[in-house]
């Protein structure tokens, strides 16, 4: 997408929002101007930044955890046919289950605080990374492995020079695909048993304080986080895996 296209798209959405607000003309849909004013005020005087970073922290930690744990397992499954045969049916069963249904269970078990939220996002990303890395590792042509082995590479060097770089695009694709879901589930998780995070902020302002401009400011902040994460992963993928975009 070109920069000019992006600007036009943003403007179009803002105009539609503005028109909608003018037509509905009720406090439950404030205009973008009021919302952006509120957002700026909340950033300067309020606590929205604290909530923003609380949410961001949960996403980032769970993402890193998912990569650290799922990528090696995916690599091993991709390399070993025997393990693959044993574990893949389990993954196959669990993978399509929408992980968001585990939210109540995880909250029951792990209670309040950051940990259950991190766990939920971790679960979503874990399967995504696992499956994509596994497929990528399994898809490496045996000729490539044999060639690199003939250059002297043993298991460790193969991991370093073949399997790791080969799985990098899979990890990043998994992240790009699931970052939206992760933020959505984070929102749901933050509705319950916490007083930190944008999910809580949005819910609290909307249903307790009836401060609709602040609620919308929270929604905008969460959207910015989701977009930002998506484009960051996208940008990073282009930097690290330039060879895929020739």
């Amino acid at each position: 997408m070109k920069k000019s296209e992006l600007i036009i798209a943003v403007l179009t959405l803002l105009i539609l929002w503005q028109l909608g607000a003018m037509i509905i003309n009720k406090p439950i849909l404030p205009t973008p101007y009021i919302v952006s004013q509120t957002l700026i005020q909340e950033v300067i005087n309020g606590q929205i930044l604290d909530h923003f970073f609380a949410s961001l922290w949960r996403v980032v930690v769970s993402t890193l955890l998912a990569i650290i744990i799922a990528a090696p397992i995916g690599l091993v499954l991709g390399q070993s046919k025997r393990l693959h045969k044993f574990i893949s049916p389990i993954v196959y069963l669990l993978y399509p289950i929408p992980k968001v249904v585990f939210v109540p269970i995880i909250l029951l078990f792990f209670g309040i605080g950051d940990f259950p939220k991190i766990m939920i996002i971790f679960l979503i990303l874990f399967f995504q990374v696992l499956v994509l890395v596994r497929d990528q590792a399994a898809g490496i042509r045996p000729e490539l492995i044999q060639s690199v082995r003939s250059l002297g590479a043993g298991r460790r060097a193969l991991f370093r020079f073949v399997y790791f770089p080969a799985s990098l695009p899979a990890i990043l694709t998994a992240l790009r695909q699931s970052v939206g879901t992760a933020v959505a589930v984070l929102f749901i998780a933050e509705l319950i048993a916490t007083q930190k995070g944008l999910g809580y902020y949005i819910y609290f302002n909307g249903s307790t304080l009836f401060n609709y401009p602040a609620m919308y400011a929270g929604i905008v902040a969460l959207s910015i986080m989701g977009l930002g994460l998506y484009y960051f992963v996208d940008w990073f993928e282009h930097q690290v895996c330039a060879w895929q975009y020739l």
Binding site: R141, E143, L144, Q146, S147, V148, R149, S150, L151, G152, A153, G154, R156, A157, R160, F161, V162, P165, A166, L168, C241, W243, Q244, L246
Partner: protein
């Protein structure tokens, strides 16, 4: 850079490079590919291994490369039993085996990087020092300068194979194993790479084993041709072709006669 090796060539001439003694090989749940098979290759020889597809040519090469192991019998390379890929053996495959995420230059550097990863332990990599300057030398020698920063998918098949050759030769091998290296290339490219292979083998004092199903290629590159029948392979059928690597051999009557002879005997195999 290869001065030192040329000196000890005199001493090592007529040394046994490859010694296969009564080897048998079978894939798990597969048929027997080799049975009590024997073969000797002397240092500096250029061999072509010729046979129809599925006859075990590639298996033979993988056995020599230390990527597969015989059920019984022994394989000695330079009088040493092989238990893993030998640092001084270079392997070139039909599909190049280049890392798609690495540029031509990075691919050529790969062998040296692997060596640095383990250190020169003599097990994963040659004991003697290998100069990183080899990379530049081989990039120049194989005319890869202008494409050294390109990724493999952006270059032609011939350039890919030259990259793979540069990568292998940067590790200063004494034995070059090639598995159908030029089969997927167009005729002019194939011809020029065949010539290049001959030049390099002479320059670098390499022992060459090239596996091919192309009769012409076997006749052009193999001073000795090992014919493989349908498996299980027991006999060692060798055709002498001493003038193969001479320039102009491609146009000689001797070459044409040999091609005819090989074709006749290959036809015989098909019918069996």
């Amino acid at each position: 850079m290869n001065g030192s090796r040329q000196k000890d060539f005199v001493i090592k001439a007529n040394q046994c490079m490859i010694h296969l003694e009564n080897i048998s090989f079978q894939y798990p749940q597969g048929e027997l590919v080799f049975q009590d098979f024997n073969w000797e290759v002397e240092r500096g020889e250029a061999w072509a291994v010729l046979g129809p597809s599925g006859c075990g040519k590639t298996t033979l090469l993988y056995l020599l490369a230390g990527l597969r192991f015989p059920l019984s019998g022994k394989i000695l390379l330079m009088d040493k039993k092989i238990t893993r890929p030998r640092p001084h053996t270079g392997l070139i495959l039909q599909d190049y085996g280049l890392l798609p995420w690495a540029t031509v230059r990075q691919n050529v550097e790969l062998g040296i990087q692997v060596r640095d990863f383990y250190g020169p332990d003599g097990k994963h990599a040659p004991e003697e020092n290998i100069s990183p300057e080899n990379v530049d030398f081989w990039i120049n020698r194989l005319s890869l300068n202008s494409i050294q920063n390109q990724y493999p998918q952006k270059i032609s098949g011939g350039q890919r194979q030259r990259t793979a050759i540069a990568r292998t030769l940067a590790l200063e091998p004494d034995l070059l194993l090639m598995d159908e290296p030029f089969s997927s290339l167009d005729a002019p490219t194939r011809e020029s790479l065949q010539k290049l292979t001959i030049e390099l083998c002479i320059e670098q004092d390499l022992t060459l084993i090239i596996v091919t199903h192309a009769i012409e290629e076997a006749a052009l590159l193999g001073q000795k041709i090992l014919m493989l029948n349908q498996p299980p392979i027991t006999d060692t059928i060798i055709i002498e072709n001493p003038n193969a690597i001479n320039s102009g051999y491609r146009y000689s009557d001797e070459y044409l006669a040999l091609v005819r002879e090989l074709r006749n005997s290959m036809d015989g195999y098909e019918e069996k």
